[in-house]
């Protein structure tokens, strides 16, 4: 055996390609049964190149280093009672939403990569998926660990995993990943590695996490940045898989384009939660959702799609809608939660005067015209003791599962409502994008588990909303939810901060 040290490229080759072997006892097609399932044609797996050429030995070494730094910060945060040093008690509600809505997605990503990491004929792709799979499990663990500190002091953190499987708005992120994981292996990679991680994930882990630091939450900021440093590797995997598929066979191009169109749209809907976290839930704000969208999608995504144009790939369908949507979606999403706050597991509030002015400045063409009057009305009603909660259950979009309360983006005074028929049944959608996704594969989306339908069918306990909340969701009405003003969280906060 040679004692000479191998360079990066040689080590990568030895620890990826040379791991592969031929089967003398079985047909290779039988070993990788899903590889042909979606019509993708792979002619030469050896063309797969991972730009970072990360091998397992380097992976363990650097991940261990990252982990040490990260847990040192968690310890310092807890020892310093740093939950008392966040900008305001309102901030903690963004973390409740993160724990219930986002962290379980990391676990779904882990399961997804464990599955597809087995399914590819190429050893390079299998190794990349294996390392990403371990990363995703690391993300779940660090996120739960970082946020568990808040559970000692605030409501709403007690049963996040149970809530993720049941609560109405959490079916939005949950169904997104379930849709991806029940697709074929190549669609899963285009959905998660490319469309979500490369094109959209920066919007969750960069400006929001910078905002967490700005609000005194170094534990969240650090797990977010540490996770995103893995995402940087995942993004190169996402870009590599797309370029690889496009270079392998021209027949792959329309299939990949269809997936990009679908997952870009589904991703933008999912991110409406992040939009309201940035514009409404961070007390100290870094940038508006609109500005973040412009930097991390329009500019960065624009560069990416320009680069992919030589393969015949176009900007995602419905990208024009998002040019308008960036002006509206955070305000409409926060309004939905304000109106249905009795059924959520966190608190909402009416923006302060200072925040209304900030929103006016950041959204000069739309905020004063469409959204400021709503908050002023809400404030007037609250002062008169007439705080309004929507009593009925909302109709949900069959595709994204968000309540159908978003408007036409070209006419913010008109609720957007689309209808398709399939095998004699009617299905409803919040947008052209969601209707399009459904119409491409109705047999999949007719099976969607829609919380409101399930409640009406008696599958979620009941019959009253309060029983569903307490017995099925494990949410305590008036403690885990309703206005922040007057909540136990706010009372404790005032006592700690010695303010009246």
């Amino acid at each position: 055996m040679s004692t000479q040290k191998m360079n990066l490229t040689e080590r990568y080759r030895a620890l990826t390609r040379d791991l592969d072997w031929d089967y003398s006892y079985a047909d290779r097609k039988e070993a990788f049964p899903y590889e042909d399932f979606e019509g993708i044609k792979i002619t030469d797996w050896s063309k797969w190149e991972d730009p970072f050429r990360l091998t397992m030995d380097a992976y363990w070494k650097y991940q261990a280093e990252k982990e040490k730094k990260l847990y040192a910060i968690f310890d310092a945060f807890a020892q310093n009672n740093a939950h008392l040093n966040v900008a305001d008690v309102r901030y903690v509600n963004a973390i409740k939403l993160f724990l219930t809505g986002v962290t379980p997605l990391e676990y779904q990503a882990y399961q997804g990569y464990a599955h597809v990491g087995r399914q590819f004929g190429g050893a390079g792709a299998r190794v990349a998926c294996q390392m990403q799979c371990i990363d995703e499990l690391r993300h779940v663990q660090t996120q739960i660990h970082a946020m568990s500190h808040y559970n000692k002091f605030f409501d709403g953190f007690q049963d996040w995993s149970h809530m993720h499987d049941r609560v109405w708005y959490l079916s939005v992120p949950k169904s997104f990943f379930e849709d991806a994981r029940t697709a074929g292996p190549f669609e899963f990679l285009v959905a998660i590695s490319f469309s979500f991680e490369y094109v959209l994930t920066n919007l969750l882990f960069v400006p929001f996490m910078s905002g967490a630091a700005h609000n005194g939450d170094m534990a969240t900021c650090t797990f977010g940045f540490s996770a995103q440093s893995d995402e940087a590797r995942h993004m190169t995997l996402g870009l590599e898989i797309v370029k690889f598929l496009l270079e392998q066979h021209e027949d792959n191009v329309p299939i990949v384009q269809k997936w990009i169109d679908k997952w870009f749209w589904r991703g933008t809907r999912l991110l409406s939660l992040v939009a309201m976290m940035m514009d409404y839930m961070l007390p100290n704000k870094v940038m508006s959702w609109k500005e973040a969208w412009e930097v991390y999608f329009e500019e960065a995504g624009g560069a990416l799609f320009k680069d992919l144009a030589r393969y015949g790939i176009k900007m995602p369908e419905f990208v024009k809608t998002t040019e308008k949507e960036k002006e509206h979606v955070s305000h409409q999403a926060w309004w939905i939660f304000y109106n249905y706050n009795h059924a959520a597991a966190f608190h909402t509030w009416i923006p302060s005067d200072e925040e209304l002015d900030w929103l006016s400045a950041k959204y000069p063409d739309t905020f004063d015209k469409y959204y400021r009057p709503r908050w002023e009305l809400a404030r007037k009603l609250e002062a008169e003791g007439k705080r309004f909660y929507t009593a009925g259950l909302p109709q949900l979009c069959q595709t994204c599962q968000i309540p159908m309360a978003f408007t036409e983006m070209s006419d913010p005074e008109q609720i957007c409502y689309r209808l398709s028929e399939y095998e004699g049944e009617k299905y409803h959608f919040c947008s052209d994008g969601c209707q399009h996704v459904f119409d491409q594969e109705p047999e999949k989306f007719v099976q969607a588990w829609l919380p409101v339908h399930q409640i009406f069918q008696g599958n979620c306990g009941g019959p009253s909303v309060e029983e569903i909340l307490t017995d099925y969701y494990n949410i305590t009405l008036g403690q885990d939810n309703l206005d922040l003003k007057g909540s136990p969280d706010e009372e404790r906060w005032k006592k700690w901060k010695k303010v009246s």
Partner: protein, 88 residues
């Protein structure tokens, strides 16, 4: 020309990495945001092992970049000596 970008955690190592990037990419634009430093450049950005070692005064493996990295945009080409972000 499209911009490539990289964002680093605002920590002690990143200070030297950013100085090295500034030297090797004179047109790069550095933006400081809470807890992070974002660097963007038109078309191409290079991070050289030798330049970072020079600033830090110690050996530095290019893969150590992952300890401070937050995110990046662009195609990545990496070998032992440098990492290049570029659009085609």
């Amino acid at each position: 020309m499209s911009k490539v970008y990289i964002a680093l955690q605002d920590n002690d190592d990143a200070r030297y990495i950013v100085e090295a990037i500034e030297d090797d990419n004179p047109d790069a634009v550095i933006q400081r945001q809470p807890a992070m430093i974002r660097i963007e450049n038109s078309g191409r950005l290079v991070i050289r092992k030798a330049s970072v070692e020079d600033k830090m005064g110690r050996d530095w493996e290019l893969q150590e970049l992952h300890l401070s990295l937050i995110t990046l945009g662009g195609n990545v080409s990496e070998d032992e000596d440098e990492m290049v972000l570029h659009w085609n």
